[in-house]
């Protein structure tokens, strides 16, 4: 999904924030939001990939309002999708907690996804060998799905070199939509800055971990 979350290479965000070493949670609500997000994954019968996608679906202005704000809205999206709570219930409960009168709407009907899990975590073993080897030139496909993907815009249709074959993992593009784990090999692919940004850019290399279906042999 070409959403606001896919910021790699975007311009206009200004100066970086200073490297201050603040506490993990600037306000008490942030700690609660953090915990609630992780617990919402289980309560919704979802998974980490669906949670990331639920955050990506937060509209741009709200996404940019802050990390734990978008994290919390993502958690609510997950819970709503699974019929665990409705948006109307959250609104009504928030009003009551602020001392206003609000009727509590009926609980929605549960519709939790039932994707089978291949075990804890995201690393999986595959019988088939990896399609690409270290040193091989690969090109990223011109993929542009409307759902979840871990192929960012800024590395699409680019040619790079495999520098490491990583363990096979649950395929986010599939698992985020509860279509199955469909595990895939992951490759660390290195690109030159010139390949990504053209002549005149800073000299550096960029390595990114890409799932096998994102890649094809470079010809």
């Amino acid at each position: 999904m070409d959403g606001i979350h896919d910021v790699g290479g975007m311009q206009g965000f200004g100066h970086t924030k200073p490297l201050t070493a603040g506490p993990p949670f600037a306000e008490p609500w942030e700690g609660k939001a953090f915990a609630l997000g992780l617990l919402a994954i289980r309560a919704a019968g979802a998974n980490l990939h669906a949670f990331r996608h639920a955050i990506e679906r937060v509209p741009p202005a709200e996404y940019l309002s802050g990390y734990y704000a978008r994290w919390l809205m993502g958690a609510q999206n997950l819970l709503q999708d699974s019929g665990v709570v409705s948006g109307e219930e959250v609104t009504a409960r928030a009003a009551r907690l602020s001392g206003q009168h609000a009727a509590e709407p009926a609980q929605p009907e549960l519709r939790k996804p039932g994707m089978p899990s291949g075990g804890p975590g995201n690393l999986r073993n595959l019988d088939a060998p990896p399609a690409f080897a270290v040193g091989e030139a690969v090109r990223t496909r011109n993929l542009d799905p409307s759902g979840h993907t871990r192929l960012p815009r800024y590395v699409r249709r680019r040619t790079g070199t495999v520098i490491a074959v990583q363990p096979a993992q649950v395929f986010p593009d599939s698992a985020a939509h509860f279509l199955g784990e469909d595990p895939q090999y992951v490759y660390s692919v290195e690109f030159t800055s010139r390949e990504l940004w053209g002549a005149g850019c800073e000299p550096f290399s960029l390595s990114i971990d890409l799932f096998e279906p994102y890649l094809e042999p470079a010809t």
């Binding site: 970086t16 490297l19 609500w29 700690g31 919390l72 990504l196 800073e202 290399s205």
Partner: protein, 196 residues
């Protein structure tokens, strides 16, 4: 209605959600408190600093750490969520690594804890894959022209941690004293470690 359409203050939204989920028996307030305490007290960059200090003082550990980060880090007791497969990138006088997650804010929790504000901010995530030297200079890290810059975008479940260079003049320090010098920023690759 999506979560965003209600325009609730996040502090109020979290209370509303927590109260509904608790009522339905789906979360336990004690578990929420436990999560918060864990990431406030037990899991943080002090873990990664111990890994770095061990690698600086034990050459065999350094070899194991660079060959299989996850296993070598687990030797010191650090593992858990967001640490399924940790790769350690060694900075040298000629190569400098810096880590980002452009799509969200993936970060090696078992060794570094939760990510700081600047790491999650769109300015860092957007710019460090396009103008890393300028971003590092903004943070106060000036690299010589002949140092190769390698940026790592964590887009899968692999997590990256930088093994910074040991500063000169620290030969007399103990492992614990060295660990006290190592900062979170150096283990992401946006700062160098300085001698005391």
């Amino acid at each position: 209605m999506t979560a965003a359409q209600e325009h609730l203050d996040p502090a109020l939204r979290v209370e509303a959600l927590a109260s509904l989920l608790t009522e339905r028996g789906l979360i336990d307030p004690a578990t929420v408190e436990n999560f918060i305490k864990t990431y406030e007290k037990s899991v943080g960059p002090m873990n990664g600093a111990k890994v770095v200090a061990r690698a600086w003082t034990d050459p065999q550990y350094r070899v194991r750490l660079l060959a299989d980060g996850t296993a070598a880090i687990a030797e010191l007791g650090f593992k858990g969520p967001q640490g399924e497969h940790i790769v350690v990138l060694e900075n040298t006088p000629s190569v400098h690594h810096v880590v980002v997650c452009t799509l969200c804010s993936c970060y090696p929790w078992p060794v570094l804890g939760l990510p700081p504000s600047w790491y999650k901010d769109p300015a860092y995530r957007s710019r460090v894959v396009r103008e890393p030297r300028m971003v590092l200079a903004e943070f106060g890290l000036m690299l010589a022209d002949d140092v190769q810059v390698k940026v790592f975008d964590s887009s899968s479940e692999v997590r990256y941690m930088v093994l910074p260079e040991r500063p000169d003049g620290t030969g007399h320090l103990s492992e614990d004293e060295l660990a006290a010098l190592v900062t979170r920023d150096a283990m992401v690759g946006v700062a160098a470690v300085s001698a005391p």
